[in-house]
Symmetry: C2
Subunit: 140 residues, 2 copies
């Protein structure tokens, strides 16, 4: 078993663990976007959104709320906002293939954010309507 996050969950390799319950673990990202940047993972191995159960994803979300609720207090600089971010798949920026939710403390002046694609604001009504009809059918 060579998954680095499984090894962290099993305490085989060290991490700065800040939160733990029966299902999930929260620990500091080793290359934080801002201090306090935390990752929440399920203790069991799930690679992606399609593998993880709804219940486990829900537990990851609940834990992220607990951690977010104390981040401001924990930061001497106080954070002004928080991003939750999850990358599912290489094309979405996933680098470790054990699902993880980023909790990123934010500041107005931190220069972090989203890089919008050139087509942003130019997607046609036809393209939107096509996926709309299909999603409705699939989720009915």
């Amino acid at each position: 078993m060579s998954c680095i996050f499984c090894k962290i969950a099993d305490a085989e390799i060290p991490a700065k663990v800040v939160y733990e319950d029966e299902y999930v673990l929260g620990f500091l990202d080793i290359k934080p976007i801002n201090p306090g940047h935390t990752l929440v993972i399920p203790k069991n191995h799930f690679e992606s959104l399609s593998d993880v159960s709804e219940e486990t994803l829900a537990r990851m979300a609940s834990a992220s709320k607990k951690i977010a609720s104390v981040l401001k207090e924990a930061l001497a600089s106080k954070c002004e906002g928080i991003n939750l971010h999850l990358a599912d798949g290489k094309a979405a920026g996933q680098e470790v293939f054990h699902i993880h939710l980023h909790i990123i403390p934010r500041y107005t002046t931190d220069s972090f954010g989203l890089k919008f694609p050139p087509h942003y604001g130019k997607i046609t009504t036809e393209e939107i309507d096509s996926v709309y009809r299909k999603l409705r059918n699939l989720l009915e």
Copy 2:
């Protein structure tokens, strides 16, 4: 009541709703990053992560998994990955102050992504350890 997402939840203004359950609503973003970009909101009004209950946030996460599971199939282009993204507070990019989770279909070549801050990779061990000790104390 002037919250645009409350009006969508109450069907006072139209939206391309793709998912609905007792607690949350999923509808297409009117300015999508890619076709199929969906927002998941609680039907009740919560401004932010600090207001929303853990249970409601968990229900938003579960709904996002349901929607994500069919997005690839719904997209003629097939998506290669998915980002879940939540902006909490103006400094984090929140624009509508009714909590919402973005589900963003992704492609290797879509030029969307994260813009990293200049200090990325340069945060000191001291800064990380300081917040680590405080988070541990607060989350114990």
